[in-house]
């Protein structure tokens, strides 16, 4: 029997690590990886929340949401990686700090 607060703590930590990754890294690939971590933290909360829900009908809802988030992650990664390839072909690096042409 896992206490709910432990799962909360785990999820929060994972999410914050993801945010730190997004903020600190300049490589586009690492930002995508950090996004994956954040998504996982959210998924964890969903599943835990549904499992601890008092009504039994809602117990499977968390996994359904997980499926939705999984498809979302898959699409996001597909598009993100194609952008990475595109960027690398054009600039020969993945440093997002140098992508500031939209500024003006």
């Amino acid at each position: 029997m896992i206490p709910l607060s432990w799962i909360f703590f785990l999820s929060l930590s994972l999410f914050t690590i993801g945010i730190f990754g997004v903020l600190a890294r300049r490589n586009l690939l690492f930002i995508l990886i950090s996004l994956e971590l954040m998504l996982n933290a959210v998924v964890l909360l969903f599943i835990a929340g549904s499992r601890y829900h008092p009504t039994s009908i809602a117990n499977s809802d968390g996994q359904i949401m997980y499926i939705l988030i999984l498809t979302l992650a898959a699409s996001e990664i597909a598009i993100g990686l194609s952008l990475v390839i595109h960027m690398y072909r054009q600039h020969h690096h993945l440093d997002i700090d140098k992508l500031n042409q939209l500024r003006d």
């Binding site: 945010i19 997004v22 903020l23 997002i96 700090d97 992508l99 500031n100 042409q101 939209l102 500024r103």
Partner: protein, 613 residues
């Protein structure tokens, strides 16, 4: 009556249309001259006809409405013309003298390359002047007032390639602007006080609203109107633009700066005589200013060497006479003197123009001399003009000036009478000096050409008017309340008649002993001579009192002290703009960071709110 009314509206419109046509087309010189002179002559014929119609009547009024101008709440201003005895005299002078001067200008300006421009301005001037005197409300009068000011500016600076002419034009414009501003304020105040700008209604309203005489508000209104009149008529504090205004072509000086425009101030006061009757203090001030001006102008005219400047100072002095007459309540004689002055001063200016034309633009009278035989027509007309100016008996100037002097006695202002007589003495002296120096004595320069025939014709016509222009239309007499005749003493009757002859004899003696052309050696006299020559040094006084302090203030305020605040505002917003625009740096990580910061702050706010409750 409608037939007359439409004729009346034609008078100012004819020159206006002619000016517009000249402005927007390129006719040759003959067409230009025909159009310009034709339109003015038409107007002159109409006004002569109206004179003929109303000759016997004293109490006639003719109005004509040309259209609506402004209609806001209480303010109803129409382009309405109003003709009574006073404006009839004025339009007769303006169109009559105007037509003659137009005719003369054909000869005088024929060689000028800007022939068309000249006539455009001149026609526009006549039209504006006619609107001024025919206006039935003060706003339309003000439109004409500014119109003549504009034309005066344009014509003084007609030969604009010369810097001095431009400066003279600027000076005239700015000096009159001071008066015009006062007048505009006066119009606002009158409208607030009396609720109308119609001149006739104003007189009636003034009587009922300001029931007691010498009301402060009445004094203030009249004072402001007087300010406008002083500027336009070159009276005492604002007189020094007129001598410089002689930079324009001579016919312009004759028309604008002697016969018509400068008399607008006299017209304004005569027109609003009932209003001014409500302010006796202002009336006294008018008389006082007139006296100062007439002495000041006459004394300055004694020592000038420039032909046209003598005439300009003489004009100032004669206008002083008219102001004096207005101030003592003798408006009719002021207008009468205005009329005769228009004739003989136009004659003098035009003869001077003919002289200048013949002598190849020579202005200095000491370089002329002995021209009596070489230019007989000019000499004759000049002599007649000078005689009228000096008010020798049986010339037109004699009648009008005598009338003014008589009215001064009648109204009981004996001290003003003495000043006016002294002025008359000086006037006679300088007119004689002018004539002697230019036409008698040794010949110094021979004319290279005779004046054009058309010019001589005009001179002869004006000679006629100057001699016999003393016949007064009966309408004028009713303009002003009659003064009680108190009778003159023998001295008062004969002194003004005899004095000019004494003055002329004196001038003759000084001319014979060759005192005029001599350089003065006594230092005190030399200083006085210089002072007079500069017109009592008013230019320098104004320079010290107004221009220099103003320049000093400008110097102080070089960095725009008041604007500093606004510039600081601009700088701060620029700084903030720079700071804030740094946030939009195109860096994804910065955008992310600001998002997270916002989240942090929002959570902090949430926690704080939860803890407080």
């Amino acid at each position: 009556m409608t037939y007359y009314a439409s004729l009346l509206s034609l008078i100012p419109l004819l020159p206006l249309f002619s000016a517009l046509i000249l402005l927007f087309s390129k006719p040759n010189k003959l067409t230009t001259a025909l159009l310009a002179v034709g339109s003015i002559s038409g107007a002159a014929c109409i006004s002569l006809f109206l004179n003929f119609v109303f000759w016997q009547q004293t109490d006639f009024v003719l109005t004509s409405n040309l259209g609506n101008w402004i209609k806001i709440a209480q303010l109803h201003i129409n382009f309405s013309l109003y003709l009574d005895a006073l404006s009839l005299v004025m339009i007769t002078i303006i169109t009559g003298v105007g037509a003659l001067i137009h005719l003369y200008s054909i000869g005088f300006m024929y060689q000028d390359k800007d022939f068309k421009r000249y006539f455009t301005y001149l026609n526009l001037f006549v039209s504006a002047m006619l609107f001024l005197v025919l206006a039935d409300n003060l706003l339309l009068l003000y439109l004409g007032w500014e119109g003549v000011g504009l034309c005066s500016y344009l014509l003084i600076g007609f030969w604009y390639q010369d810097r001095d002419n431009n400066l003279a034009a600027n000076k005239a414009f700015l000096m009159t602007r001071i008066g015009d501003t006062a007048m505009a304020l006066g119009l606002f105040l009158l409208f607030i006080e009396l609720g109308t700008l119609n001149i006739q209604d104003l007189q009636v309203q003034a009587l009922s609203v300001w029931s007691s005489s010498n009301n402060n508000m009445a004094n203030l209104c009249c004072l402001l109107l007087l300010g406008g009149a002083l500027g336009k008529s070159a009276q005492f504090p604002l007189q020094n633009w007129l001598p410089d205004a002689m930079a324009g072509p001579t016919p312009v000086s004759a028309l604008i700066h002697a016969a018509t425009m400068v008399t607008a101030g006299i017209y304004l006061i005569a027109r609003n005589s009932q209003l001014f009757q409500m302010a006796p203090d202002v009336m006294y001030l008018i008389a006082f200013i007139g006296t100062i001006t007439l002495l000041l102008g006459a004394s300055a005219a004694m020592v000038q060497s420039d032909l046209k400047r003598i005439l300009a100072y003489s004009t100032i002095s004669q206008l002083g006479y008219m102001f004096l007459a207005l101030g003592v309540g003798a408006g009719a004689s002021a207008v009468f003197h205005l009329m005769t002055h228009a004739f003989f001063k136009a004659l003098l200016f035009l003869s001077a123009g003919a002289l200048i034309y013949s002598l190849h633009h020579e202005h200095n009278i000491f370089k002329m001399g002995g021209l009596l035989k070489k230019l007989p027509i000019v000499a004759t007309s000049f002599a007649i003009g000078c005689a009228a100016l000096a008010s020798l008996p049986f010339t037109s100037g004699f009648f009008s000036k005598e009338l003014i002097l008589e009215q001064l006695i009648d109204s009981g202002h004996t001290n003003f009478w003495w000043a006016a007589v002294l002025g008359a003495f000086i006037t006679a002296f300088y007119s004689a000096r002018l004539f002697f120096v230019v036409f008698l004595g040794d010949s110094k320069q021979s004319p290279d050409k005779q004046p054009e025939k058309i010019m001589s014709l005009v001179l002869l016509l004006l000679c006629f008017f100057s001699l016999f222009g003393g016949i007064q239309p009966s309408g004028i007499q009713t303009l002003m309340p009659k003064l009680n005749a108190s009778g003159l003493t023998t001295l008062q009757h004969w002194l003004p008649i005899v004095l000019p002859f004494i003055a002329i004899s004196l001038a003759w003696w000084m001319f014979k002993t060759n005192l005029f052309g001599k350089t003065i050696t006594v230092p005190a006299l030399q200083y006085f001579h210089q002072l007079l020559k500069s017109g009592w040094a008013f230019d320098r006084i104004y320079q010290v009192i107004f221009v220099s302090p103003f320049k000093f203030l400008c110097q102080l305020n070089k960095s725009d002290i008041i604007d500093l605040h606004y510039r600081a505002l601009e700088k701060i917003s620029k700084l903030l703009h720079k700071k804030f625009s740094q946030f939009q740096n195109g860096k994804l990580r910065c955008y992310n960071a600001s998002l997270i910061i916002f989240c942090v702050l929002a959570f902090a706010w949430f926690i704080k709110g939860a803890l407080m409750s």
